[in-house]
């Protein structure tokens, strides 16, 4: 089944660039150049995902998102030139599912689109059960020793696996490098915990779309690491 994606930005060149990328990935696209057109397009077409700019004439992305969320749960990814945290938080609070800051990497856009679509279409996601851990798209089956992100299996080293298991079983809790070392290596930490940081970075590269800007496995600078609570 091919998915239809609404691309909405007041800059036509960006829209057509995105159109080329998404079409080459096999998606159908619908174009809109402001918030009103986006609302109309959603009414007239069967849209599965929306990519939308924030700063647009007539009706901006935040208002459009708020309007759409009144009776719709189509995944929305905001494209924004604003890189301030406050704007991202506002966008997510208003009902957007993800955001990408401009200027964006086309590969990141494709990855995020895929991720959102998989979550939207895989009904209910992974069922909870003993030995099953999940946060967002990351799911761990402890019995099968298997980790999937958006359903795609990821291969991890045993240490990375154990670190991820520790963080997944306590979402929201911050673990310092020393704590992680003691729990995973089962050894008291004697200044050898700096390897933890390297492992975590590798882990981040494997499970995050943009490791420089992690959405789930977060670095709490000066304190440790945590798995974001949903």
């Amino acid at each position: 089944m091919t998915h239809t994606i609404l691309i909405c930005d007041d800059d036509r060149d960006i829209v057509s660039a995105l159109d080329i990328y998404l079409t080459s990935e096999g998606y159908q696209t619908v174009k809109a150049y402001n918030g009103r057109e986006a609302l109309r397009a959603v009414e007239q077409n069967d849209i599965h995902l929306i990519l939308m700019d924030i700063m647009m004439p007539e009706l901006d992305g935040i208002r459009t998102t708020a309007k759409l969320r009144e009776d719709n749960n189509i995944p929305i990814i905001l494209l924004t030139a604003k890189s301030e945290d406050a704007d991202k938080i506002l966008g997510l609070n208003i009902g957007a599912d993800d955001y990408i800051t401009k200027p964006f990497n086309p590969l990141e856009v494709i990855a995020r689109v895929k991720s959102q679509l998989r979550r939207y279409t895989s009904l209910g996601g992974a069922e909870k059960g003993p030995g099953l851990l999940s946060v967002g798209p990351i799911a761990m089956d402890d019995g099968a020793k298997q980790v999937t992100v958006d359903g795609a299996p990821v291969s991890l080293t045993p240490i990375e696996y154990n670190i991820l298991k520790l963080l997944l079983s306590h979402p929201g809790q911050v673990f310092s490098s020393a704590q992680i070392y003691e729990q995973v290596w089962n050894d008291p930490a004697y200044g050898s915990e700096n390897t933890v940081a390297v492992h975590i970075r590798h882990l981040r590269e494997k499970i995050e779309i943009n490791p420089a800007e992690p959405r789930y496995l977060k670095v709490v600078w000066g304190l440790g690491y945590k798995m974001e609570k949903e």
Partner: protein, 686 residues
């Protein structure tokens, strides 16, 4: 209400009412005064007038007896005898029952009736209201009161027998007669119109009318007061004119006016008092039947009216002046005092100005000399004079207080300048109660701090404006940049085989990526330097942070063949900082190492703590010779080499410094040959 207040008729009526009321009140008051002596007692016989008259009649009896004795003397001339006879006749007529209501019985020492004016067969007790007992000695012209008890015994009064009737003297020489006399009560008074009848009539009238007179007098006084009140209320108001109108009376100085009025009032009062005394002696004390002295009471009332007029006029002009607020201006004394006060203030100012314009040094010397002189003189004097001693103490106390005042002012000034020097430009020194010279100084300091605060505020504003501008421009740059990056990327996928085209695409790709990095850094640098970033300071573990940072950078540094050597103190080192900002600082420093450090060298990370400070130093050997001083390295867009081919934007160190300062720390760079050292200091947390 306004019309009544303004109207002339109302005022005229009020004045008339005042005068009439005072006149009537005074007349009634005099009537009451006239009646006052008759007040009290149970009958008219209790009044003083009655007693006086009774004594007069009694004395007539004694006189008659005395004259009778004189007649028996043989050696009288005819004329004398005639005169005595005439007087005797007068007395007899006066004492005759047909001429008077006075009734009497004269008894000799033995109790025998000598003479009487009673009708035959009547006794005195039935005829009169009350019997009055008296005695007289034959040959004397007056009677003396005697008690009822001894009179009844008809004997010689005890005092008399001891003093005047000494043993051995014949009773013929000193014969004592007893007089029993009296007047009928009011109802039994006959038709004879004598003084007793008059007194009785007056008594009757008085007891009946006194209270009426008083009430009328009171009503009249109340009316006069009401009229006066109206006059004062309406004073100064005139029909058709708003506000208070002054008349010629108000153009006279109030104190002069008052003086004239007081003199007039005093004169009138004296006159009134004189007339009243006259009235009292003629009308009240000795009631003369004829004439009535009506003119006298009228004169007293008229004087009262004049007196009331004087008071009313004075009060009226006072009221007008008070209403117009011109009392002080139209008072001579007040004017003189104001004039004097102004001169005094002027003189005081002049002296103060003189003292102020003296140079400070002179003032100090002159003040000290004056103090020294006074002190010496008083100290010498104090040996003999206790007062001088006390003054000496007071003087020194005053000087001490003055010095304290100065010292306190100086301390305030010192604190203020310290605060300003410490950067608190909004601090204003409180110049209240400061000595003059210090206050001038404090004012200057306040002005400086105000000016500086303003300048700093201006600068902050312009910095913020700049930051906003940069942010906006960056946003606008990002949109076309997005297209460039994307289309360059798309261009790569078009299957170009021309090596030249591929090379050009590669250049486009690199430069667009660099442009992206530059715009991002630019926004961050401007935000960090203007302080618009929010800072959430919390307790951060430095060792943990360095560990995390190395985790991010180790591999990149190893790619550059750089070895990281860390020296951390035992245990965790805590600081108060914003984790994300501090990470950016260390990230920038390590990125710097990765970009500019010479390959194959070591990078040293040293963490130290002590004296409430935590310092992190990052040392590396520069690949290129560092030909710029460290201060310039922190300037924006300055990099360690002149050619701008490397990937850096030249903003990293500037951002690192701004972010460190935002968190309350300091950021220093030193360059020693090719050794590059960055030191980040932050306050330690416990």
């Amino acid at each position: 209400m306004k019309r009544i207040q303004d109207g002339i008729p109302g005022k005229l009526i009020a004045w008339m009412l005042l005068f009439c009321a005072v006149f009537m009140g005074a007349s009634c008051g005099l009537k009451a005064l006239q009646a006052a002596p008759y007040l009290g007692g149970e009958s008219y016989q209790d009044t003083g007038q009655f007693r006086n008259l009774l004594r007069e009649y009694r004395n007539q009896i004694a006189e008659a007896f005395a004259l009778d004795q004189e007649l028996e003397q043989a050696d009288l001339t005819y004329v004398e005898r005639q005169q005595i006879m005439e007087r005797m006749q007068q007395l007899e007529q006066s004492l005759d029952p047909s001429a008077t209501n006075f009734r009497f019985v004269v008894r000799s020492a033995g109790g025998k009736v000598v003479t009487s004016n009673l009708e035959e067969g009547t006794i005195l007790a039935d005829q009169v209201q009350e019997i009055n007992y008296a005695f007289f000695i034959l040959g004397e012209f007056f009677t003396s009161d005697a008690g009822e008890a001894y009179a009844a015994e008809s004997s010689i009064p005890p005092g008399l027998s001891e003093n005047t009737t000494s043993p051995g003297k014949t009773s013929q020489e000193k014969t004592v007669y007893t007089v029993e006399c009296g007047v009928p009560s009011m109802d039994q008074l006959g038709t004879v119109q004598d003084d007793f009848a008059q007194i009785s009539y007056r008594y009757y009238q008085t007891n009946y009318c006194f209270s009426q007179w008083l009430i009328i007098a009171g009503v009249c006084l109340a009316a006069a007061a009401a009229a006066l009140f109206f006059i004062l209320w309406a004073a100064g108001h005139k029909a058709g004119i708003e506000g208070i109108v002054s008349t010629w009376q108000e153009s006279i100085f109030f104190d002069l006016y008052l003086m004239v009025m007081v003199i007039a009032g005093t004169a009138l009062f004296a006159l009134g008092w004189y007339l009243l005394g006259f009235f009292y002696s003629y009308v009240v004390e000795r009631p003369q039947l004829e004439p009535e002295y009506g003119w006298l009471s009228a004169a007293v009332a008229a004087v009262c009216v004049l007196f009331a007029a004087v008071i009313a006029l004075t009060l009226r002009t006072l009221a007008v002046r008070l209403k117009a607020h011109t009392l002080a201006r139209t008072t001579l004394l007040c004017r003189v005092l104001v004039w004097l006060w102004r001169r005094l203030v002027q003189a005081g100012r002049w002296v103060l100005e003189l003292i102020r314009s003296l140079p400070f040094l002179w003032k100090t010397v002159a003040g000290f000399l004056a103090y020294f002189l006074c002190n010496t003189v008083l100290f010498n004097e104090a040996r003999y004079n206790a007062l001088a001693g006390a003054v000496w103490w007071l003087l020194n106390l005053a000087v001490l207080l003055l010095l304290c005042w100065w010292a306190m002012g100086f301390r305030k000034l010192r604190r203020g300048s310290q605060a300003i020097a410490a950067g608190n430009l909004s601090h204003q020194i409180d110049t209240h109660h400061m000595p003059h010279n210090l206050r001038c100084h404090a004012d200057d300091l306040n002005n400086i701090s105000l000016g500086m605060a303003e300048a700093v505020g201006e600068q902050m504003k312009s910095e913020r404006f700049k930051a906003e501008l940069i942010t906006n421009v960056s946003h606008d740059l990002k949109t076309p940049l997005t297209s460039i990056i994307n289309y360059v990327d798309l261009l790569k996928t078009t299957g170009q085989t021309d090596p030249k085209a591929l090379e050009y695409i590669e250049v486009l790709d690199r430069k667009s990526q660099r442009l992206k990095k530059l715009t991002e850094d630019l926004v961050e640098a401007s935000k960090a330097s203007t302080g618009v970033l929010s800072v959430n300071r919390e307790k951060i573990g430095m060792a943990q942070l360095i560990d995390q940072a190395l985790g991010e950078w180790t591999e990149k540094l190893e790619d550059r063949k750089l070895t990281v050597v860390t020296a951390l103190p035992e245990g965790e080192t805590w600081v108060y900082a914003d984790g994300r900002h501090l990470w950016r600082v260390i990230d920038n420093l390590l990125s710097n190492c990765a970009k500019y450090a010479m390959e194959g060298t070591r990078v040293y990370l040293d963490l130290n703590r002590g004296h409430g400070q935590v310092t992190l130093s990052v040392k590396n050997i520069s690949r290129e010779p560092l030909n710029v001083p460290p201060e310039q390295l922190m300037e924006r867009f300055v990099r360690g080499e002149e050619s701008r081919t490397t990937e850096g934007s030249g903003l990293g160190l500037s951002i690192a410094r701004s972010l460190t300062e935002l968190q309350g720390g300091t950021f220093d760079l030193t360059v020693d040959g090719d050794l590059f050292k960055a030191i980040v200091s932050l306050p330690q947390a416990n």
